[in-house]
Symmetry: C2
Subunit: 191 residues, 2 copies
DNA sequence: TTTTTTTCTTGACATAGATCAAGACAATTT
DNA sequence: AAATTGTCTTGATCTATGTCAAGAAAAAAA
């Protein structure tokens, strides 16, 4: 399936749109290919775009005082990725975004999101619902990082997002789950 | 300041509204008093309302397998609180919400949020921006729980939300920060 | 005020998970 | 195919933070 069809399908999981509206909506996006390991956003840059993953995988990560990377999010097909914090607060980003598989993405400027949402109220609704869902999932994740031992966090991922474990190197998964690769390896041996 | 004025001011930090529209918007909300320690939502119930705090303080928390409470969020005046996850997935809530200070709140049914947003596009925009901000803050929080030692998490809270430390018992703060009261006490002794 | 309950502190000890190190694979690149 | 780089595993050890216990202080209830 091509990039724009995926986008349309993704939007239509939440709101209905006409062919005519969709073609105008689509024109706000630009397509980009991102080779594995290439950056979409560097730490220190200001993020002003939102990415929709059509193919491949992106990850966002921060770096702590000792230079250790911490994976914040992993986005496979049909997921959206950005550093909202950097944009909303107009501050340099403290996270980076890169591709962990060759990726096809659609990009839209945040300013254009706002414009588009005024032009198409159903897109305003779409983004509200999209962010609501992402927000609620992230609160669940905070809760799991704080209240579950490493093994349970791994088991939950296995149950809820098995595809990640099949596609993404364990070093990234470990970091996403908030543990070291060594710990994850030992946990997997026991499960 | 009365409850509805606070609500209006909160909305107007993000979008403009006329007197006429606001009075219709206000009519979607109902006011409630919640005494300290009283529940707004119990674990296992389905959450179908969104709360705006006019006065006092709410907290949401989960309970782990051993019966230990984990504070997910603390909401002082002008903050919104709900278990979005329960509503969006129509599942029994795995978090509870109660008052940690006597509270005045405004409640609105989620279904009414959707209706209201169709009637007033600026409210759709308001909620999109509200949730965007909450989402980005929550991602930052995940990152801090995963990448910072307990002492740094405490220092960040001290810098960013000093009011919490003045008003809220440290047992809740500790849990919110993802540590035990004992650890927080020792950290505070050293800072 | 007195009593009861809740919150906070401190010490002794335990432990989940981190760190360090080294080797085995696996996947890219040349 | 060989060389290089990236990923995964395993063992030995360490450490930040948790757990348990007990008392002090503060707040709420009687």
């Amino acid at each position: 399936m091509d990039c724009l069809s995926r986008l349309r399908k993704n939007i239509e999981t939440k709101v209905a749109i006409s062919d005519e509206d969709f073609s105008k909506i689509a024109s706000y996006f630009r397509r980009q290919h991102l080779k594995k390991k290439k950056d979409l956003l560097r730490i220190g840059d200001t993020c002003d775009e939102l990415a929709f993953v059509c193919k491949g995988a992106l990850r966002s990560y921060s770096m702590d005082a000792r230079g250790v990377e911490h994976v914040v999010q992993i986005a496979l097909e049909d997921y959206w990725m950005a550093d909202l914090y950097s944009y909303l607060n107009n501050t340099p980003s403290n996270i980076a975004i890169d591709a962990i598989e060759d990726a096809e993405i659609l990009l839209i400027k945040y300013n254009d999101v706002d414009t588009m949402c005024l032009e198409f109220p159903s897109m305003e609704r779409f983004f509200r619902k999209l962010v609501e869902k992402a927000y609620s999932a992230t609160l669940q994740r905070i809760n799991s990082v704080k209240s579950l031992p490493a093994e349970d966090r791994y088991k939950n991922l296995l149950k809820n997002q098995p595809e990640l474990l099949q596609r993404i190197p364990l070093i990234y998964i470990a970091s996403y789950l908030g543990m070291t690769p060594e710990s994850l390896s030992r946990i997997r041996k026991n499960v």
